[in-house]
Subunit: 193 residues, 2 copies
């Protein structure tokens, strides 16, 4: 594999991320993708195997980033409040640094075929369990209120996974800044107490 085809392959993946996010996977044709790159649709298949392979690459790459970043920030931290805060900022960092790909991860995974679909759901459930464990830890140590763990986990992820719907990297807030503010919001709420 030459350097030229490697670069072209990266370009295909990047443009696919953007189109899948903007129009949705099903509404994006391979001809749309080829046109955005400037080649013929048939030429795409010199670099990739199928349309679904593009979706798989996006979904599992982001899944890996979530796990890697989580492990990185949890390493050595024991304080429940800080552990939760680090998990939130790690997740936010991955989302804010991969807006196209994370949007596809959140919204287009249902178009995966088996066995990828089952594997995807499994990894997502494993990741969610990590956040549930953090919430449980915080409640048992009295740091968090007596919330229902599964319910709180869903609300936390709703907040975090909604980031691509409004965050613009050219805006006033950097990824680290929104990560801090989202953590504050989840921990403190809106009330002035």
């Amino acid at each position: 594999m030459t350097i030229e085809t490697l670069n072209r392959k990266d370009q295909i993946n990047q443009v696919a991320q953007n189109l899948f996010r903007e129009r949705g996977y099903a509404a994006t044709s391979m001809r749309d993708l080829a046109k955005a790159i400037g080649i013929e649709a048939a030429s795409l298949y010199s670099h990739i195997k199928s349309k679904e392979e593009l979706l798989q690459n996006i979904c599992f790459r982001i899944a890996n980033e979530f796990f890697d970043e989580y492990d990185r920030v949890q390493n050595g931290t024991t304080d429940p409040k800080l552990r939760f805060r680090h998990a939130v900022t790690a997740h936010t960092r991955v989302v804010a640094s991969n807006l196209d790909a994370s949007s596809v991860f959140f919204n287009e995974w249902r178009h995966l075929n088996e066995p990828s679909l089952t594997e995807f759901k499994k990894q997502r459930a494993d990741y969610e369990e990590r956040f549930k464990a953090l919430l449980k830890e915080g409640i048992e140590t009295g740091v968090f209120r007596q919330v229902q763990v599964s319910f709180a986990m869903r609300l936390v992820f709703s907040t975090l996974n909604g980031i691509p719907t409004w965050y613009r990297p050219d805006g006033a807030l950097s990824p680290d800044q929104i990560a801090e503010q989202i953590a504050d919001f989840l921990l403190e709420g809106l009330l002035n107490k």
Copy 2:
């Protein structure tokens, strides 16, 4: 228009809501829809004008429900904290009572064509402004913390609009119960203070 075709039309709209939610608008064919009902695809067009008309009906019906329910609960309330709480519970009630349709409203609106697309965005922006006004009111009266209004509004809607991803009506919590708990979560946060 006979009673039979009216019922059939309602049935088409209801099944379309469900399929558009489960598979996405673009990935749902008119043949899928017809098959789920038990008629031929061509027969759908005795009751509806086009596939997009189905999407328009869903999106604008839900938009109207959001406005109507908001107006209903705000009527007469002046306390900032209560006004916000009522807005959250009203929104949650509409979502939890229309899980299929509200999912389509949140995720499939981009498939609307002009001029519906512009009209949809306008109505959504108007609705969001109402929540921003409530947040601003709460901050100015010292009830809420000094959060950035636009940012807080986005986080609130992320939480509320994520409901269809996890809420199951056959679960332990009723729509009114989750509405209360979500309002608590948004106001109080996670910390045990």
